[in-house]
Amino acid sequence: MVPLSYYLVLSAILFTCGVTGFLIKRNIISIFLSIELMLNGVNLSFVAFAAQWKALSGQVFVFFVMVVAAAEAAVGLAIIIAVFRTRETLNVDRVNLLKL
C-alpha cells in the first residue's frame, strides 16, 4: 500500500503548482486552470485521508468540491467570454477598470 505521506506530498506539489501558476500567469484561462489544479490538489488530500481513516466524509467533500468546481467553471468561462468580448484581451493586468 502506498503510504499516506506520498499522497500528501503529491497533493502539496499539485497545490503549489496551482498557486504558482495563479500568481505568475497573466492569461485568465491559465489562472483558471491553476485554480482547478489547486482544487484537485486539495481533493487528493481529502481522498487520501478518507482512505487512510476509512471515513466517508472525505469522499463526500470531494464530490462537493467537484460540484462547486463545475459550477465555477461554467460561470467563470461565461465571464471570461464576456470579458474577452468587451476588452478583446485576456491579460488580467489590463482588466483593471475597477481599480481606483
Partner: protein, 677 residues
C-alpha cells in the same frame, strides 16, 4: 432669648444693589444708577446703625444662621453670621465710610464712562467686605476675603483700556494669591486638627492650650500662615508691592478699598484669630517685626514720591504696619482702634486728594500743584484735619490710636523699646512726608501748566478711550475745564463728615473707653487660661507707669512736631533746599525714589525666573519637546508606516493573491513549527 436681628440683611443689601446696577444698569440713567447704589449702601449703613443701637441689650457674641452650606460628617460651615464688639466696629466702619465714599463717588465719577459698572463693583465690594467681617467661620470669611480681592481687581482695572491699570489689577490679584495660599493652608490645618472652622467651636477648643513658647508647634504654624495671608491682604512686607500700583484705580476706590477697609482685613483677621496668636508668641513676634519694618520702610519711600496718591499709598502701608505692630504685641484693641481712626483720616486724605486732582484737572504730580489753599478752601481745611490727624498731633484722631500702639509696643509683655523707637522714628517721618504733601499742594505758587489748554488738549486726546476719561490726563470735572475750582457739594459733604470724624474719632480712646468696649472679645479667649491671662493682661501696668507713658507721649508729639517743622523748613521756607539735599545724598535719594528697587528685585528673583522657567522649561521644554513631540512623532510615525504599507494595496489582483499565499504559507510554517516542537 435674644431677638432676631436679621444681620444677614446687611451684606445682602449691597449685593442687591450690585446685581441691579450690574445687570440692568446699562439701561438706567445716571441718576437711577446713583440712587440705587446710594440706597442700598445707605440701607446697609442704616441697618448697621440700628444693630449698633440694639447691641447693648444683646448677649454677645450674637450668632445667626441664615442657611446651611457645607455639612460633611462632623464638619460644618454655614452661611452664618457672628456679631460681637469687634465685628460691630468693623461693620460701622465699613458701612459708614463706605456709604460716604459712595456719595463722594457720585460727584467724582459724574463724567466717567462705565458709571453703572463702577457702582456695581463698589456695591459688590461692600457685600464681600461685610461678609468678611460678619462671617461666623473662617470659610465664609475666606469667601469674603477672596471676594474683596475680586472687587479690588475689578476696580483697580476699572480703566481697563489703559495698560498700566490692567497690569496693576493683575499684580494685586497675583500678589494676593501668595498670601491667600497661606491663609488656605492655615484653614486646612485647622480642619485637620480641630475639625471645625466655626469661631464659636474653635476658640473654646484652643483656649485651654498653653502657649507654645519654644519651637514652631501647630498653633505657631497656623498663626504664621494666617500672618502670611494677612500680609498679602494688608500689604505688608514682603507682599506690599501691589498696593502702590493699585493707585491706578479711581480715587474713591483707593479711599474705600486701598485705605479704609479692604487692606485692614488682614488686621481684622489677626485680631479675630487672637486666641490662636496669643498661644503662639513666635508668630506674634513675627507680626510685630513685620509691622515695624513695614511701617519704617514704607514711610521712607513715602518721602521721595511725587505722585500725591503714591505718597498716600505708602503712608497707608506704613500705617498698616502700625496696626500690625499693635496686634503683634497682643494689643489687638489698639490695632483695631488705629484701624478705625485710620479709616477716617486716610479715607479723608484720599478723598481730599481726589478733590485736589479734580480741581487741577487730573494732575497727580505734586510738583505741578501748589498754592491751592485759597482756591479750594474746603478741600484744604478737610485735608488739613486729616494731615494733622495722621501726623499724630493731639487732639486729632491719629494721635490717640498711634500713641496707644506705641505705648503698648513699649509696655506690653511682648513689646520692646526697639519697636517703640522705630515707631517713633516712623511717626516723625510720617509727619514729615504728610506735611511735605500738604505744603507742596496748598502753599507756595501754583506750578502747574496753564491748566486751560493743557487739560483741554489732553482731554480731547483721550476722548477716543471708549468714553473712559483718564483722571491723570483728562478731567473728570463736570464744569469749567482749566479754572481751578472747588469740587461740587456732593463731594464736599463726605469730606466734611470724615474731617469731623478725623478730629473727634480718637476721643473714644480716651480713658480706654474703646479698649474696654472691645475687651470682652479679646479677653474671652484668654480668661479661660489663667497663665495666658497673666501673660497677656496689659492694662495693669498702666497706672504705675503713668509717668513713663506721659514721657513717651511727649516724645511722640515732639517727633510729630519735628516732622512738621522740617517739612515747613524744606518745602515752604526754603524750597530750594530739598534739591540740594537730594543731590548731596545722591545714591540714597535714588534708591528711595526708586522704592529701594524692590519691584526690580522681585522681578529678578521671582518674576523673571518664573517667566524664564515657564517659557524655557515648561513651554519650550515640556510642552514643545515632550507633549507636542509625542503627538507629532506619533502622527509622523503612523504616516511613515502607512507610506510603507500602502504599497501592499497595489490594486493588482495577483499581488493580493501573492500576499494571501504568503500568509497561508506563514501560517503553515507556524503550525508545522508548533507541531514539531
Amino acid at each position: 432669648m435674644t431677638p432676631n436681628l436679621h444681620v444677614w440683611l446687611i451684606p445682602l443689601l449691597p449685593l442687591i444693589g450690585a446685581a441691579l446696577n450690574g445687570l440692568l444698569g446699562k439701561r438706567f440713567t445716571r441718576q437711577t444708577v446713583a440712587a440705587v447704589a446710594l440706597f442700598f449702601s445707605g440701607a446697609a449703613f442704616a441697618m448697621a446703625s440700628w444693630v449698633a443701637v440694639q447691641f447693648p441689650s444683646l448677649t454677645t457674641p450674637y450668632e445667626e444662621t441664615l442657611a446651611q452650606w457645607i455639612r460633611a460628617g462632623s464638619f460644618r460651615a454655614d452661611f452664618a453670621f457672628y456679631l460681637d464688639q469687634l465685628s460691630l466696629v468693623m461693620l460701622l466702619v465699613v458701612t459708614g465710610v463706605g456709604f460716604l465714599i459712595h456719595i463722594y463717588s457720585v460727584g467724582y465719577m459724574a463724567e466717567e464712562g462705565g458709571f453703572y459698572r463702577f457702582f456695581s463693583y463698589l456695591n459688590l465690594f461692600m457685600f464681600f467686605m461685610l461678609t468678611l467681617v460678619l462671617a461666623n467661620n473662617y470659610l465664609l470669611m475666606f469667601i469674603g476675603w477672596e471676594g474683596v480681592g475680586l472687587a479690588s481687581y475689578l476696580l483697580i482695572g476699572f480703566w481697563f483700556t489703559r495698560d498700566s491699570a490692567a497690569s496693576a489689577g493683575k499684580k494685586a490679584f497675583i500678589v494676593n494669591r501668595v498670601g491667600d495660599f497661606g491663609f488656605l493652608i492655615a484653614l486646612f490645618l485647622l480642619i485637620k486638627h480641630f475639625g471645625s472652622l466655626n469661631f464659636a467651636q474653635l476658640f473654646p477648643t484652643i483656649s485651654p492650650m498653653s502657649p507654645e513658647t519654644q519651637g514652631v508647634g501647630l498653633l505657631t504654624s497656623i498663626a504664621l500662615l494666617l500672618t502670611l495671608g494677612a500680609c498679602g491682604k494688608s500689604a505688608q512686607i514682603p507682599l506690599y508691592v501691589w498696593l502702590p500700583d493699585a493707585m491706578e484705580g479711581p480715587t474713591p476706590v483707593s479711599a474705600l478699598i486701598h485705605a479704609a477697609t479692604m487692606v485692614t482685613a488682614g488686621v481684622y483677621m489677626i485680631a479675630r484669630s487672637h486666641v490662636i496668636f496669643d498661644r503662639a508668641p513666635g508668630a506674634l513676634t513675627a507680626v510685630a517685626i513685620i509691622g515695624t519694618l513695614t511701617a519704617l520702610f514704607a514711610a521712607t519711600i513715602g518721602i521721595a514720591q511725587t505722585d500725591i496718591k503714591k505718597v498716600l499709598a505708602y503712608s497707608t502701608i506704613s500705617q498698616l504696619g502700625y496696626m500690625f505692630l499693635g496686634c503683634g504685641v497682643a494689643a489687638y484693641s489698639a490695632g483695631i482702634f488705629h484701624l478705625m481712626t485710620h479709616a477716617f483720616f486716610k479715607g479723608l486724605l484720599f478723598l481730599a486728594a481726589g478733590s485736589v486732582i479734580h480741581a487741577v484737572g487730573g494732575e497727580q504730580d505734586m510738583r505741578k500743584m501748589g498754592g491751592l489753599r485759597t482756591k479750594i478752601p474746603w478741600t484744604f481745611w478737610t485735608m488739613t484735619a486729616a494731615t494733622v490727624a495722621i501726623a499724630g498731633i493731639p487732639p486729632f484722631a491719629g494721635f490717640f490710636s498711634k500713641d496707644e500702639i506705641l505705648w503698648q509696643a513699649y509696655s506690653s509683655p511682648q513689646g520692646s523699646w526697639i519697636y517703640w523707637l522705630i515707631g517713633v522714628i516712623t511717626a516723625f517721618i510720617t509727619s514729615f512726608y504728610m506735611f511735605r504733601l500738604w505744603f507742596l499742594t496748598f502753599f507756595g505758587e501754583y506750578r502747574g501748566a496753564v491748566a486751560d489748554e493743557h487739560s483741554q488738549a489732553e482731554h480731547a486726546g483721550h476722548g477716543t478711550h471708549m468714553g473712559h476719561n483718564d483722571p491723570r490726563a483728562g478731567t473728570p470735572a463736570p464744569h469749567g475745564h482749566g479754572v481751578i475750582h472747588e469740587s461740587p457739594k456732593v463731594m464736599l459733604v463726605p469730606l466734611v463728615i470724615l474731617a469731623v470724624l478725623s478730629v473727634i474719632g480718637g476721643w473714644v480712646g480716651y480713658h480706654n473707653i474703646f479698649e474696654n468696649f472691645l475687651a470682652p472679645v479679646f479677653r474671652s479667649g484668654v480668661a479661660l487660661s489663667a497663665e495666658a491671662a497673666q501673660a497677656v493682661g496689659s492694662t495693669q501696668p498702666r497706672t504705675e507707669a503713668g509717668s513713663t507713658e506721659s514721657l513717651l507721649m511727649g516724645i511722640s508729639i515732639a517727633a510729630a512736631l519735628a516732622g512738621f517743622l522740617l517739612a515747613w523748613l524744606l518745602y515752604h521756607r526754603r524750597p530750594e533746599l530739598p534739591k540740594r539735599i537730594a543731590l548731596a545724598l545722591n545714591g540714597l535719594y535714588e534708591a528711595v525714589l526708586n522704592k529701594y528697587y524692590v519691584d526690580e528685585l522681585y522681578a529678578t528673583l521671582f518674576v523673571k525666573p518664573l517667566i524664564n522657567g515657564s517659557s524655557r522649561l515648561l513651554w519650550q521644554g515640556i510642552d514643545q519637546h515632550v507633549i507636542d513631540a509625542t503627538v507629532d512623532n506619533g502622527a509622523e510615525g503612523a504616516r511613515h508606516i502607512s507610506d510603507t504599507v500602502r504599497h501592499m494595496q497595489s490594486g493588482n489582483i495577483r499581488s493580493y493573491a501573492g500576499w494571501v499565499a504568503a500568509g497561508a504559507a506563514a501560517i503553515i510554517v507556524y503550525m508545522v513549527w508548533i507541531g514539531v516542537r
